[in-house]
C-alpha cells in the first residue's frame, strides 16, 4: 500500500507468475542490449572513435591552415576548398560562425578527420546523412570516415554557439 507501511510478511510473498514472466523477458532484453553495443564495436561499421587528442585552439588553427595550404584547390563563398588524398589526415575546424575548409572527398575512401573548435562548443551534423558529433575547443576528435554515398552534403552546426549559430553551415562534396 503506497500510503501505508506494507503488510506484515511482505518480504516473503511469492512473485506472481505473470510478473515473473515479464521480469524474465525484460532481463533478457536488457542484457542483449548491453552486449549488442559491445558487439557492434567489433562487427558494426558505425562507431564513435577511441581517439581524442589534447590540443589548443592556436595549435589546431595552425595545423588546419597548413593543411589548407597544402591541398587547396579553390574557394567557395570566401571559404577555401580542399581536396586531400584518400587515407590522409583531414582537418576541419569550427568557429563562430563557419566551418573551414570545404572538403572534397572520394566515395568509398577512408579519411582521418580531426575536428575541433576555436571558441565555443559546436555540433557537427552531416546532412542529409544525419550523423551527429560534438566539437569542443581544446580537444581534437579523430573520426575515421568512409563516405558511402556521393553528392553534396551540408555540415549544420547543431550546438548553440551564439546569435549567429543559425548561419553556421559548411559543405562536404563527395565525388564518385
Amino acid at each position: 500500500m503506497a500510503l501505508l507501511p506494507p503488510e506484515e510478511g511482505w518480504y516473503y510473498k511469492k512473485v506472481a507468475r505473470d510478473e515473473k514472466m515479464w521480469i524474465a523477458i525484460a532481463l533478457v532484453v536488457c542484457l542483449t542490449l548491453f552486449f549488442w553495443m559491445v558487439v557492434w564495436h567489433v562487427y558494426g561499421r558505425q562507431n564513435p572513435s577511441f581517439t581524442t587528442y589534447r590540443t589548443t585552439p592556436q595549435e589546431f588553427n595552425a595545423l588546419t591552415q597548413a593543411f589548407i595550404e597544402k591541398y587547396k584547390t579553390g574557394e567557395m563563398n570566401g571559404i577555401p576548398v580542399v581536396e586531400p588524398p584518400p587515407n590522409s589526415d583531414v582537418f576541419l575546424l569550427g568557429k563562430m560562425w563557419r566551418w573551414e575548409p570545404v572538403l572534397v572527398l572520394k566515395k568509398g575512401q577512408e579519411y582521418r578527420f580531426h575536428i575541433s573548435s576555436l571558441d565555443l562548443l559546436h555540433g557537427f551534423s552531416l546532412q542529409p546523412v544525419n550523423m551527429n558529433f560534438m566539437v569542443y575547443p581544446g580537444y581534437d576528435y579523430v573520426l575515421t570516415f568512409r563516405p558511402t554515398s556521393a553528392g553534396e552534403f551540408a555540415i549544420v552546426c547543431n550546438e548553440f554557439c551564439g546569435v549567429g549559430h543559425h548561419t553556421m553551415i559548411g559543405k562536404i562534396i563527395v565525388k564518385e
Binding site: A2, L3, L4, P5, P6, E7, V15, A16, D18, E19, M21, A26, L27, V29, C30, M37, W40, G44, R45, Q46, N47, P48, S49, T52, M76, L120, L121, G123, S125, Q127, P128, V129, N130, M131, N132, M134, Y136, P137, G138, Y139, D140, Y141, L143, F145, R146, T148, S149, A154, V156, N158, F160, G162, V163, G164, H165, H166, T167, M168, I169, G170
Partner: protein
C-alpha cells in the same frame, strides 16, 4: 502543532503544511512562466510564423528550460518530499526554520536567474556550456536555488530519521515514501555535482579562475543535468503508486519487487548522465558503454518492472472488485471521471510508449549518432518529463487541493478534461519533434533555412507537414497546461473551502476485498506490457537498420 485530517485520518503537522503550500505556489508560478515561453518557442520554430527575433528566441529558450525543467519540477518535488516524510508517516517536520531558509534561498535563486535571463545577461541556454559565459549573478542564482533544494532534501532525511526513532511507522516505509527516498538519494548526488561545477564557473565568470575546460564542464554538468531527470522519473513513479492507491485502492502486487526496482535505480540510474557524451570527444567507448547502459541496464530493468507493477496494482484491485470479464474490463471500468486517475494513466502510457522507447535508442552508444542534438532529443524528453512527470504531478495536485489546501476543485468538469488535452497535445508534439529530428532538423536552432550563411540546405519537404503537427500539438499542450493553472489558482485562492469528507469530489478508494488467486494476477497488464515490448523492439531494429546504412565511421 498537529491537526487530524477528517478525510484520511492522518496527522498533519501544520508547519509542514504551510511550507508545502508555499512551495506548491512557487511551482505553479514557474510552470506558468515556462508555458508562456513554450508558446513563444512553438510560434518561432514553426517558421511559417517565426515570431521572435533571434536574440529573444535563445533568451526565451533559456527561460523555458530553467522555469519548466528546473523550477517547476524541483519546487514540486520539495512539496512531495515534505508531504511524504511528514503527513504520510504521521510525523513532524524536523526543522521548520530550515524549511523556511530553503524556501527563501530557492525563491532568491529563482528571482536572480529569471532577472538575469530577461535582461539579456544570460543568453546561454539551460546548459550554459563553458566557454559560453553568463553574468555572475546568473550562476549565483543557480547556486542559491540548488543549495536551497539541497537543504530541502536533507530535511527530508532528517524527517525520516525522526519518524524512525519515534516509531511512527513499522520497520518498513510506505512504498510512496520509499520511492521518494530513492529520489532524494539521487537528488543528493545531483546537487553535489551541481556544486562541483557551478562554484568554479561562478569564480571563472568573476575572473578569479582563468579558464574552465569544456570537456570537464560538460561531464560534470550532466552529472547534474541528467541525474536530475532521474529524480523526476523516480518521483513520478512514486506518484504513480500513490495514484493507483488513492484512486482504486491498488497496491503493488509484490512490494519486494517494487522496492528492489527502486534500489536498482539508486545503484544504476545515476551513471546514465553519460548519455549526453556519447558522441563527444574525450571519454573512451568503454566508459561510454558501461555508464550509458546504466551499468548493464539495471535501471532499464527497474523501469520495466515498474511499468508492470503499477498497472497491475490497478488491475488486481479492480479484478477483486469484480471486474473480471476478459482482459480489459478492469480498465474500462476504471474511475475515468477522476482527473487524477486519467492523469496517472496517460502519464504511464506517454512515458512508456514515447519517452521510454525513444530513450533507449537515444541512449545506446552507436544509435546516438543519428539523434544527437536533433529535434528528436527534446521530442524524447517531452515524452518523459512533460507527458510523464509533469502530467503525473498535475494529477497529484487534484488530491493536494482538497487535502492540503482544503479547497474544492473549481471547474470540476474542466478538470476531468484537462489531462486529456494536455496529454494529447504533448503526445502529438513529442512525436512530431521526434520525426523532425529524424529528418535531421537541429534543436536549439533559430532558422533552418540558414539565411545569412555561406551555404544553404533544404530539409526534406515532408518536414513541412510535421511542422504543422508540431504547432498543433504544441498549442494544444499549452492550452492544457493553462487549463490546469487556471483550475489550481482559482481553487486555491477563490475556491470553496472543504469542510469535511462530504466536500471531497475525488474518491479515496477503500481497499478492495481480499483476493482469491487463480493463475495470472494481471493478464491485461501482461498483454499491455508485451505490446509495449513489441513496439520497442520494432523501433529499435528500425533505428539500427538505419544506422547501418550511414557512412562508415570509427
Amino acid at each position: 502543532m498537529f491537526r487530524t485530517c477528517d478525510i484520511t485520518g492522518l496527522k498533519v503537522d501544520t508547519r509542514a503544511e504551510r511550507l508545502i503550500q508555499l512551495n506548491a505556489v512557487m511551482a505553479v508560478v514557474s510552470l506558468l512562466i515556462g508555458v508562456i515561453a513554450a508558446l513563444l518557442l512553438v510560434l518561432t520554430r514553426w517558421q511559417v510564423v517565426h515570431l521572435l527575433p533571434v536574440d529573444w528566441y535563445y533568451r526565451v529558450l533559456t527561460l523555458h528550460g530553467l522555469n519548466a525543467l528546473i523550477f517547476w519540477i524541483v519546487f514540486f518535488e520539495i512539496v512531495g518530499l515534505y508531504f511524504g516524510s511528514t503527513v504520510v508517516l504521521n510525523s513532524r517536520m524536523s526543522s521548520p526554520k530550515f524549511g523556511w531558509l530553503a524556501l527563501i534561498l530557492m525563491v532568491l535563486g529563482f528571482l536572480l536567474v529569471n532577472a538575469t535571463i530577461l535582461t539579456g545577461n544570460a543568453d546561454v541556454l539551460m546548459t550554459s556550456y563553458a566557454p559560453l559565459q553568463a553574468h555572475p549573478l546568473y550562476y549565483l542564482g543557480v547556486i542559491l536555488f540548488a543549495v536551497g533544494a539541497l537543504i530541502g532534501v536533507f530535511l527530508f532525511f532528517a524527517n525520516l530519521l525522526i519518524a524512525r526513532k519515534e516509531r511512527t511507522y513499522g520497520d518498513s516505509l510506505p512504498l510512496f515514501t520509499f520511492g521518494l527516498v530513492a529520489a532524494a538519494i539521487i537528488a543528493t548526488l545531483t546537487l553535489a555535482s551541481g556544486a562541483i561545477i557551478y562554484i568554479p564557473t561562478l569564480l571563472w565568470s568573476l575572473g578569479i579562475i582563468k579558464s574552465i575546460d569544456a570537456g570537464v564542464y560538460k561531464l560534470v554538468w550532466w552529472g547534474l543535468g541528467h541525474s536530475s531527470q532521474q529524480i523526476n522519473v523516480t518521483a513520478m513513479i512514486a506518484v504513480w503508486y500513490l495514484g493507483a492507491f488513492l484512486t482504486v485502492g491498488g497496491t503493488s502486487i509484490n512490494e519486494k519487487v517494487s522496492r528492489l526496482a527502486f534500489v536498482f535505480y539508486v545503484i544504476g540510474i545515476n551513471v546514465a548522465s553519460a548519455h549526453h557524451l556519447l558522441v563527444d570527444p574525450g571519454p573512451s567507448p568503454a566508459w561510454k558503454v558501461f555508464n550509458t547502459s546504466y551499468i548493464m541496464y539495471i535501471a532499464v530493468l527497474a523501469s520495466m518492472i515498474h511499468a508492470f507493477a503499477v498497472p497491475s496494482a490497478v488491475e488486481s484491485a479492480q479484478r477483486r472488485r469484480g471486474f473480471t470479464k476478459g482482459l480489459f474490463d478492469w480498465l474500462k471500468n476504471a474511475p475515468w471521471g477522476n482527473p487524477a486517475f486519467s492523469a496517472v494513466f496517460l502519464s504511464i502510457i506517454i512515458f512508456g510508449f514515447i519517452g521510454g522507447v525513444t530513450g533507449v535508442v537515444n541512449g545506446m552508444e552507436q544509435t546516438n549518432i543519428i539523434v544527437h542534438n536533433t529535434l528528436s532529443i527534446p521530442g524524447h524528453f517531452k515524452g518523459t518529463v512533460v507527458g510523464g512527470t509533469t502530467l503525473a504531478f498535475m494529477g497529484a495536485t487534484y488530491y493536494l487541493i482538497p487535502l492540503i489546501f482544503r479547497k474544492k476543485i473549481a471547474f470540476f468538469s474542466l478538470a476531468k478534461l484537462q489531462p486529456w488535452v494536455f496529454g494529447l497535445g504533448i503526445a502529438v508534439l513529442a512525436v512530431s519533434m521526434y520525426i523532425l529530428g529524424a529528418f535531421g532538423v537541429p534543436r536549439r536552432h533559430y532558422d533552418i533555412t540558414f539565411s545569412g550563411g555561406p551555404f544553404t540546405y533544404t530539409f526534406n519537404p515532408a518536414t513541412d507537414f510535421f511542422w504543422v503537427l508540431f504547432a498543433l500539438g504544441g498549442i494544444t499542450a499549452v492550452v492544457g497546461a493553462l487549463m490546469w493553472i487556471l483550475i489550481v489558482v482559482y481553487s486555491v485562492f477563490l475556491g470553496e473551502p472543504v469542510r469535511g469528507p462530504q466536500d471531497m469530489q475525488l474518491q479515496i478508494a477503500p481497499p478492495p476485498p481480499p483476493k482469491e488467486n487463480h493463475g495470472f494476477e494481471a493478464p491485461g497488464t501482461l498483454t499491455l506490457t508485451l505490446l509495449f515490448m513489441g513496439v520497442f523492439l520494432v523501433f529499435l531494429l528500425l533505428n539500427w537498420g538505419w544506422l547501418a546504412a550511414m557512412w562508415e565511421v570509427r
